[in-house]
């Protein structure tokens, strides 16, 4: 038995048993954050808060949702929406949250790309973050199946068909994933399991890893400046707050985070109460019908860019292009050959690369929503080819980049 002194307070009692003082220092009061950052650095905590809200709204939806092809549609559109007290609130919060979480993920990713926050010791932050992006994508897709409307069914049909591997014709694999020849009851219940249990578990694990990978290299700053954290921490602790380049995560940085969150939640609840249809596709208010394809199938806005990369090519080439587009962002820290950690505006050609990539992703997103006809096909094809051209160009232009 270890020796324990009598504690004089609850705090001391907990500290003896859990080392809460050390924990508080490591994770809050002596977790140093650079001062030279802007509101874009708050997106991580905005995402964490959104994930919390998705979890809470999900718990209430889970109490009335029925994962059965005969009951699912009515349990959502009748029971939850009209009978359950404030059921509509949870559904709209869940729908808007699922959509906005991707908006913030994209801002978070592009911020990291712009400021070079993925290299020189920060590679694992990028990789675990991309893992989160993939896990959130799977979570969004599996959740989209649950209301069992027309878009749920046909998105399930099209996405699971991707696993046939084109000319490989691996229909056995597709039927295995579905547990049926077409999306049916087995399909719905297994995606329900993934959505409410396995994938959230993976996401929580990845969030812990993502935070962990950040702790040692520390957060990047607006200039990519390297400095001695120990030295500046001492300055701060000695009361020379102005001279120090750092602030503690909690309570100083967190108060900035909370301010940005406040602004974000105004937008969030504005959408929930006044524009909830933004996350509700009208086609999905028709129950799933395996004998009738909706006239025009498209995914939610956040998957449109990669969907558009699939579309303009022949089947096999499209699948290969789609598969590469899904994973190519993982390779960013290794394809960027420049040692500079600096904002894109100071990195020569990389500045143009960054903005071209942003424009290309936006063009792909718009083309993915438009019907596959005429000029839209051509623009879609050019934008898809440009996406790959940019990735091929990246190692070359970053190799040529002057060291700052």
């Amino acid at each position: 038995m270890a020796k324990f002194e009598k504690a004089n307070s609850i705090g001391e009692w907990l500290d003896q048993r859990l080392a809460v003082e050390t924990l508080k220092k490591v994770m809050q009061t002596e977790y140093w954050i650079p001062k030279d950052i802007n509101f874009l650095w708050a997106m991580g905590m905005v995402l964490a808060a959104t994930f919390g809200i998705l979890t809470i709204s999900g718990i209430f939806l889970l109490m009335y949702y029925k994962p059965d092809t005969a009951l699912a549609f009515d349990s959502v559109n009748y029971t939850i929406m009209t009978e359950v007290g404030y059921g509509w609130l949870w559904r709209h919060v869940h729908g808007i949250g699922a959509s906005l979480v991707f908006l913030i993920i994209y801002i978070h990713m592009l911020t990291g790309i712009y400021y070079g926050s993925y290299k020189k010791g920060r590679e694992l932050i990028w990789l675990s973050g991309m893992g989160l992006f993939v896990a959130f994508s799977a979570e969004a897709f599996s959740g989209y199946m649950l209301p069992w409307g027309q878009m749920s069914y046909w998105a399930g049909m099209v996405i699971t068909n991707l696993f046939s591997g084109g000319s490989l014709e691996a229909y056995g694999l597709v039927e295995w994933i579905r547990g049926d020849y077409v999306p049916g009851d087995a399909f719905l219940t297994r995606f329900f399991m993934l959505h409410v249990f396995l994938l959230p578990l993976v996401i929580i694990g990845l969030i812990v890893l993502h935070f962990g990978t950040l702790r040692i290299p520390h957060v990047n700053n607006q200039e990519g400046e390297e400095f001695d954290y120990g030295e500046h921490a001492e300055l701060y602790k000695a009361g020379k707050v102005k001279e120090s380049k750092v602030i503690p995560f909690s309570p100083v940085f967190l108060s900035k985070d909370v301010f940005v969150m406040g602004v974000y939640f105004i937008l969030f609840f504005y959408l929930v109460f006044y524009h909830f249809n933004f996350a509700m596709d009208p086609v999905n208010f028709d129950p799933a019908d395996g004998l009738k394809t909706p006239a025009h199938i498209y995914p939610e806005w956040y998957f449109l860019w990669s969907y558009e990369i699939l579309r303009p090519f022949s089947k096999d080439l499209g699948l290969v292009a789609f598969a590469i587009a899904q994973v190519i962002f993982f390779a960013l820290p290794f394809l960027d050959r420049s040692p500079n950690v600096a904002p894109a505006s100071r990195r020569g050609l990389f500045k143009y690369w960054f903005w071209l990539m942003v424009v290309d992703l936006i063009v792909l997103t718009f083309m993915g929503k438009l019907p596959p006809e005429g000029i839209w096909n051509v623009i879609g094809l050019v934008a898809a080819l440009a996406f790959f051209a940019l990735w091929i160009a990246l190692p070359i232009i970053t190799k040529l980049e002057k060291k700052l």
Partner: protein, 170 residues
């Protein structure tokens, strides 16, 4: 640590690891089997289609194993095809009504006599051959057997086996 102690610990470690791996493989197999389609799903029976009421150039959509089945009675001036199902003096186009690109259901346009897929713009002619867009192969023919004026889906009759052997469908 003595040499014999290390040897014994290595042995214990390998024995434990070996049995754990064995159990793990067994569990993985059980998990794989649990994801398999259920026997009741696989046995989802046969569908019989009565062709006597079929009208020329009007598409009938039947359901077999949850999938739509196209049955199109061809007019006399529509091109004959090796994949047509011949019943008496009539020719029928019979196929699984899922686009071979990604599985959407193409719509039949009777004026143009084509199947048009709304998802990615693929087109098939009235015999199910791909004519435009991303579909890589013709619409598939389901296993069928001609029984008088009836068509039994799910059972491979001699006409179907002939098509299969000739590589006209998969």
């Amino acid at each position: 640590m003595g040499k014999d102690v290390k040897g014994r610990r290595d042995f214990m470690g390998m024995a434990l690891g070996g049995f754990t791996a064995l159990g793990g493989i067994g569990a993985l197999y059980a998990m794989k089997r649990s994801w398999d389609p259920l026997p009741s799903v696989k046995a989802a029976g046969f569908t019989t289609v009565d062709l006597s009421g079929a009208k020329e150039n009007v598409l009938n959509v039947e359901k077999w194993r949850g999938k739509p089945i196209f049955v199109l009675k061809k007019t006399k001036d529509m091109k004959a095809d090796d994949r047509d199902v011949v019943v008496g003096s009539d020719r029928y186009h019979v196929s699984i009504g899922l686009c071979t690109h990604l599985g959407c259901i193409p719509a039949y346009k009777p004026q143009k006599q084509i199947f048009l897929c709304a998802c990615h713009g693929g087109e098939f002619d009235a015999s199910g051959h791909e004519t435009f867009g991303p579909p890589p192969s013709p619409l598939e023919v389901p296993p069928f057997k001609v029984d008088g004026q009836k068509l039994v889906l799910g059972e491979a009759g001699p006409e179907y086996k002939k098509m299969l052997d000739a590589g006209l469908t998969v």
